[in-house]
Symmetry: C2
């Protein structure tokens, strides 16, 4: 039987070999955290390598994602479908072992990490999902959802602001089944952290209400075991285990320095490390008895089988609940869901209301049908209108709600939503002002990269928010959202388009959607049945002319009403005008060319785009010969009406711009 140290050395050897072969990567963290990982994975982690999707598995997150070879080594050694060849293809195109852990690439990887601090917040989200799902489904004698969330993190994660947001909230929520392991190795990329990071981290986390186990020797399995036992016995508070480690442990000349953080050790140092560690095996060679010591397949199969039996008993005792749980875990929408009704109702009501208010109506309609909806706002619920009529906030005493008051923590909200989504069983939505999307920007990006459903309610979508001024008025944000691959963005023109946007967001199971909503009222637009049906194509002809159009006005959101008014004024002057409402450019772009060309014909009909956000994006639809009525600067603090006038969002200006354009085109 190999010793724990020998087992851990398998991680060290595979990590340094793979980084060396790839000629890039991070050997330091895997070698430093190998002993901690060995104890956690071999003695505690509940998982089944044969089924990485088993619902009641413990979740493991490597927040210091640059140490990806630690995770790949663990998955390989414990029996996941990840071969030695996969490890040898570390960091190569289309391998299962990308440079950082990427959700969907590797069996057993729970979330994409690398952007520091976010894995930790993902883990908080997973722990929230576990506790909420347990509260919603567990019954006396049937703890059918009951697993732990473990997260490894480094100095970088702890310096990032998101660690504050996420851990403060985790403490307030009392997430007792969350355990974090801090790789306290004193090194970051610039060198020894004492020059820039001198927090008393134990005290900091105690201030958040965490249970802290300080001063654990991260290379001593007994101390690590004892710490994990303490953590698991603290059911009311999340635990932080502070492990003193040596980065690059085992590399005699580089360990303990930044030199082993982010580049291959080099052949010579690897040889010396093999010597130092007593690891006599060839590169990428792991002896059979080491594999045996790691193999978790039998234990994992047994654990899942036990759970399946418990699930059967649960099913017998609570058939309806069990059916619903299975649906939720599978990620199917309820067959009873009637999202068309959202649209019909909005159409029938024909209200001229703010799209944020129309969004609340959607939530009130969807909420009762969709118990998996899990909402929240970064302390702007009364402004974002996300706290729907049956929303119930979770807290440390009441776990079974469907809403989280995130506090003023946008970035943590985004990353926690990703964790909730990655856990499964929920559709997370979260809200802030569109401008403050920037505080959470990289979490939105990661949702898109991870193919995670997440619904962002971004209200106060333009200068139309008025007096709060330029710090709060979005300009460049729409372009940023629209240029994020795999993110769908909607800026609806009225309550009906808002309903279509919510419907689309709910049905978009494998990717995130941003709903960009107004603070101010928007006029209801008349539509026939065909127009109503075409909204979901992202863009459609809202108003056409009898004669072939001389000009096409393209608008979104609050500017659609303006475009319609301007079209009326132009028609009164004898112009033939088409108005295209384009609430979702990405959805429109994904339509067949025949449809797109029916809306925006590839003729030379001049086009004018109108949107109270940055102008640059609109060349995509009007080309070099069109006009763009949009923002070229930041906004100002003033009542909304004054601002729209000041920046040219008036019927007069649109008419004038169109007339100028038609004149230019005629003389060209």
């Amino acid at each position: 039987m190999p010793s724990r140290f020998e087992l851990a050395n398998a991680i060290r050897a595979l990590s340094m070999d793979a980084v060396q072969k790839a000629k890039s990567g991070h050997p330091g963290a895997p070698m430093g955290m190998a002993d901690i990982a060995e104890v956690l994975w071999n003695d505690y982690l509940k998982h089944n390598p044969a089924n990485p999707h088993w619902a009641d598995r413990d979740r493991f997150v490597l927040s210091n994602g640059h140490g990806s070879m630690l995770l790949y080594s663990l998955l390989h050694l414990t029996g996941y479908e990840l071969t030695l060849e996969d490890l040898q293809n570390f960091r190569q195109l289309h391998s299962k072992t990308p440079g950082h852990p990427e959700l969907g690439y590797t069996p057993g990887v729970e979330t994409t990490t690398g952007p520091l601090g976010q894995g930790l917040a993902n883990a908080v989200g997973m722990a929230i999902a576990e506790r909420t799902l347990a509260a919603q489904f567990n019954q006396p004698g049937h703890d059918i959802i009951d697993h732990h969330t473990y997260v490894f993190l480094g100095d970088g994660c702890l310096m990032e602001g998101i660690s504050h947001e996420a851990c403060s909230l985790a403490g307030t929520q009392g997430l007792g089944k969350l355990t974090a392991f801090y790789d306290d190795n004193g090194i970051s990329i610039d060198g020894e952290v004492e020059g820039w990071f001198t927090d008393d981290t134990a005290k900091r986390f105690e201030a958040y209400g965490w249970h802290v186990v300080p001063n654990v020797d991260g290379h001593n399995p007994e101390e690590i075991r004892a710490a994990i036992e303490l953590a698991r016995n603290h059911g009311e508070r999340p635990s932080l285990i502070i492990c003193k480690t040596v980065i690059g442990f085992g590399a005699p000349n580089k360990q303990g320095t930044e030199e082993c953080h982010g580049s291959p050790l080099g052949e010579h140092e690897i040889e010396a490390a093999r010597e130092q560690l007593g690891w006599k095996h060839a590169p990428f060679h792991v002896p059979e008895e080491i594999y045996k010591g790691w193999d978790a397949t039998a234990r994992g199969q047994q654990a899942e089988q036990d759970w399946n039996e418990r699930l059967e008993r649960y099913e017998q005792a609570h058939p309806e609940l069990a059916k619903e749980l299975k649906r939720r875990l599978k990620g199917d929408l309820p067959t009873t869901l009637n999202s068309e009704k959202l649209i019909e109702d909005a159409q029938e009501r024909g209200e001229s209301i703010a799209s944020r208010k129309a969004s609340l109506a959607c939530l009130n309609a969807l909420g009762p049908q969709l118990p998996e909806l899990f909402g929240g706002s970064a302390d702007l619920a009364p402004s974002n209108l996300t706290f729907w009529k049956d929303a119930r906030a979770i807290n440390r005493d009441h776990h079974g709600g469907n809403y989280l008051h995130y506090g003023v923590r946008e970035f943590a909200m985004g990353a926690i939503m990703n964790g909730i989504g990655a856990h499964g069983g929920f559709i997370p939505y979260g809200a802030t002002f569109l401008t403050f999307m920037e505080y959470m920007h990289n979490a939105v990006r990661l949702a898109a990269l991870m193919n995670q459903q997440a619904i962002y309610v971004f209200t106060h979508d333009s200068i139309g928010l008025g007096e709060d001024g330029p710090t709060h008025q979005p300009i460049e944000q729409m372009g940023a959202l629209r240029s994020t691959p795999n993110l769908s963005t909607w800026r609806p023109a009225d309550a009906v388009e808002t309903a279509v946007a919510w419907r689309s967001a709910i049905k978009r199971r494998g990717a995130p959607t941003a709903l960009v909503l107004s603070r101010q009222n928007l006029p209801h637009q008349q539509r026939d049945q065909q127009q109503l049906a075409e909204i979901r194509r992202g863009g459609y002809v809202l108003k056409d002319s009898d004669d072939p159009a001389e000009v096409i006005l393209i608008a979104t959101g609050s500017e659609v009403g303006l475009a319609m008014e301007a079209a009326g004024a132009l028609e009164a002057k004898g112009k033939a005008v088409r108005v295209v409402s384009l609430p979702s450019t990405d959805t429109f772009d994904a339509q067949p060319a025949s449809y797109r060309e029916s809306v925006l014909p590839p003729s030379n009909t001049p086009r004018v785009a109108i949107e109270a956000s940055h102008y640059a994006y609109w060349y995509k639809y009007v080309g070099l010969n069109g006009r763009i009525i949009a923002m070229h600067s930041f906004g100002e603090s003033a009542p909304a009406a004054d601002l729209f006038k000041y920046y040219g969002f008036t019927v007069e200006n649109v008419v004038e711009q169109v007339e100028q354009l038609l004149e230019e085109t005629a003389t060209a």
Copy 2:
């Protein structure tokens, strides 16, 4: 002589009146913090209302910027050029009193606040600037730079992650002249914060190494005074004064609740508050004796005069230093600065190096000439290459350097840079990977909004960074930067363009610049004198054809080399090709039409854009009938060469796309 309470009530009355008149705004914070402000401003703050730009004034930052009427009241009452009429125009277009404090709009406003947490980080930057400038210029017996930084903040600021980043760093740095006042009123927009914010804030800040004065009654002037005295006596550590306050203090029915946070109190409640406070005066009326109690003009004039006399003595003792200090404070570049030499040297060397490395060469050349350069990186100095040869890091013991190891704290870095810039005396630059610009995005935006010079060194600018994979590979970031008003963005193609970009960034005194740089080597491009001179126009013809061009290739950064190679291949096939290098679209857009049209003629010559970032932005230059060879998805983890090939950044693909386009155009 009016009592302190009466003086403070002037703030309360003006704030509730102005919010009421504007029909929007935030009365709660000004009314809650009025007593604290009264003590600080009347007893301690060193400032001269007649000269808001006096260099040695104390800095005051309202990080909870929504409470802007607190600051406007203080400025009005103490004698700044801010009239009652200005207060009555609160939140109106082009008034001096926008909804949130905006730098440049109001005399005495030191920084733009509102996006929560950033004002606090600005204050940290100001304290760093003060201490660094003092260390660089003060001489025995001549403490010519010697002022305090005070910052007010609320629960929202403390929940934001940036408060962790900034305050952790402030603790490590030992910024003893920074004092923060926490408005601990227990209320945020969603309601009572105990549901989502339960930090032991005193303990948290002690963990950062701050000096904390807890449990101060924020309505008791004596306790406030005592706390400030304690803070001022702690020279080695920043101080946090935790003031228990009642939000909306004085409004009998709304105080202590979220109802008074963000909307007018209403006529009735204002009347009741007047009653409760014993403030018998009409709206916007402040009795003369109250004005007298507040008037800081004489004291301020005296203080500045004393300082001017001290400056004269300093000048006599240290004429060269004094001259240099005056230049630095004025914000003039040295007359000896030779930034042209950067370009000449790069041209002469003709090196094919990574633009991040070319950037380091610029820093090595600029640094010795520009002692105001104050650098840093968010723990990526060895990757961003920002630690130039004479860079010296400041720390708690050594204050006189020119570099800050920010740690893994991108957002704080951005906001601290804004604080350093707003303080004056420095040109801050700071670095991270381009993708992680998103972590600091809103601080970049605020630099642009505030007209602050700041230079961002964003390296690892595309899939060209290779193996670290899609979490690290920027796609949509270029479009976001280019769509930020007032931000200049450069993505240079080689070392020569990098030198031009640095020169432009240094000379752009009133606005920020983003330098987007490659990890990988870029080939040096041949240029004649005219081309060399035209780089600074942001776009220019790098290679032209003898015959009129049949196609124009437009590229930036690492794709310029590709465009040049493709042009060669196309020429070999008999095509006439122009290549335009467009390192800075905003700079190019700002050129006269005649120049722009000389580079990109408004004829129908087909255009092809090539850039390894998101495609959408490029319609702006190629229109609807061009081609865009760019990214449509996230990247992958693989060696850079494999990625460029996989995503079509090859000579073969460019040639093929051009040929297809020419065929289409011919048949159209």
